[in-house]
């Protein structure tokens, strides 16, 4: 089976670098899948789950925004943070979620930030499960 090179890079490290058979990304205009030999693509990503299949197994990643570049059968995801499902700190995400919910309920001035924090923590929890 043909594969494509998948690299997930954050400012702090390279999270994933492997041969994947299929990748599904949360694009800003909807989720999309990338198969090997995909046409060149540049897309912005939103906060959410990324799924990739390698060796017949599905793996999940949490991505907080960023963008993806597909070229020459190499797919590079540049995200500000990315975590494998197993590496997600559920306790921290849980408290972050509660904090964000409280802020939103209180009508905090910084509603946009609170909302972003909420969506980050919710999707982290969702992936970890």
């Amino acid at each position: 089976m043909s594969t494509l090179q998948l690299d997930v890079i954050t400012p702090d490290k390279t999270v994933v670098s492997l041969e994947a058979e299929m990748v599904v990304c949360p694009g800003v205009e909807g989720e999309f899948g990338v198969l090997p030999q995909h046409v060149s693509l540049l897309s912005a990503l939103k906060i959410g789950a990324m799924r990739y299949r390698t060796g017949g197994k599905d793996e999940y990643l949490f991505i907080s925004g960023g963008f993806v570049d597909v070229n020459n059968n190499v797919m590079t995801v540049l995200a500000e943070s990315a975590e494998r499902a197993a590496d997600i700190d559920t306790a921290r995400a849980q408290t972050a979620r509660e904090r964000a919910e409280k802020r939103l309920a209180a009508g905090d001035v910084d509603a946009i930030r609170a909302e972003a924090a909420l969506s980050r923590s919710v999707s982290r929890l969702h992936i970890a499960r």
Partner: protein
């Protein structure tokens, strides 16, 4: 002539200083290694970012974004200065601040009012003492606690200022890490932003460039990505400064240890001379006394 005991005490004292400088050298070298590995890990991100943005900006018309456009009237200039929090690293911070002040002077001559934003305590102290207008400081954040979030908030401030016409130019001054022995201060123009260019080496231009699919549209994507490039640059500056700080401290401490050795050598010589002098004078006394008795 100092007494024998004084010299002995001095030798012990210098020996203790030497131990400290040696320890600081080793700590700095360990920190340097971790700082260097952070640079290494960041490099692929920065390189890819540059490449993607260059590809994208080829498609865009000149001033497609307010951050790319030069302001017609230039009145205010902001300088973001990244230094270390601590001293004892030779002329490292001095080089950065003097470069920044030189730039500030140039801008003042050109009729602009200059204000400073500082990351790192040393730069903050120097700029305040020199009497410049201060905006914000992020002191005590250098070292291991620098992260992308910090770079983001610095960049966000710069971008906000530029967009609201509070600044007409934003410059970044930091210590570049070229090699262990070469740590020059570096100045780059942060805003107006210069979009990275594709390096058209014969290899890449010979390749058939396939058309990209953009999602969302190029313009939207460009607007989204461009401000983030400022963050990448700021973060790059922070990582470089932190690595070169440790490298500078290593060199400074190495020098200090060497100077301690020299000092100990010369003090030991003095100690031996003093001891010999006292022995000689005692001998003279004894001989003189014996002469007097026999005479």
């Amino acid at each position: 002539m100092p007494s024998l005991k004084d010299v002995k005490m001095k030798i012990v004292g210098v020996g203790k200083t030497k131990q400290i400088t040696k320890a600081m050298n080793m700590v700095a070298s360990a920190k340097l290694r971790s700082a260097q590995s952070r640079i290494e890990r960041f490099r692929p991100y920065a390189a890819k970012y540059r490449q993607v943005l260059a590809e994208l900006s080829r498609k865009m018309e000149g001033n497609a974004h307010p951050l790319l456009a030069e302001h017609e009237e230039k009145k205010n200039c902001a300088i973001v200065m990244i230094t270390s929090d601590r001293g004892l690293c030779g002329s490292f911070n001095g080089n950065i601040t003097s470069q920044a002040f030189r730039l500030a002077k140039e801008k003042t001559y050109a009729g602009m009012s200059v204000s400073f934003a500082c990351v790192g305590r040393k730069g903050w102290d120097a700029a305040r003492k020199a009497g410049y207008t201060m905006m914000t400081s992020y002191a005590d954040r250098m070292g291991n606690s620098i992260d992308f979030a910090l770079a983001s908030s610095v960049a966000a401030e710069a971008i906000h200022g530029y967009e609201t016409l509070a600044f007409d130019e934003v410059w970044l001054v930091y210590g570049e890490f070229v090699s262990m022995g070469h740590l020059p201060p570096r100045t780059i123009c942060l805003l107006p932003l210069k979009a990275p260019k594709v390096e058209d080496s014969p290899q890449t231009s010979g390749e058939v460039r396939c058309e990209y699919i953009y999602e969302p549209k190029e313009e939207k994507l460009f607007v989204e990505l461009l401000p983030r490039y400022v963050r990448v640059q700021v973060y790059c500056g922070m990582l470089d400064t932190s690595a070169s700080e440790h490298a500078a401290r290593m060199a400074a401490m190495d020098n200090a240890t060497r100077n301690c050795n020299e000092l100990i050598n010369s003090l030991t010589l003095l100690y031996n001379k003093t001891r010999q002098a006292s022995i000689t004078s005692e001998l003279i006394d004894i001989v003189g006394g014996a002469e007097a008795l026999s005479g």
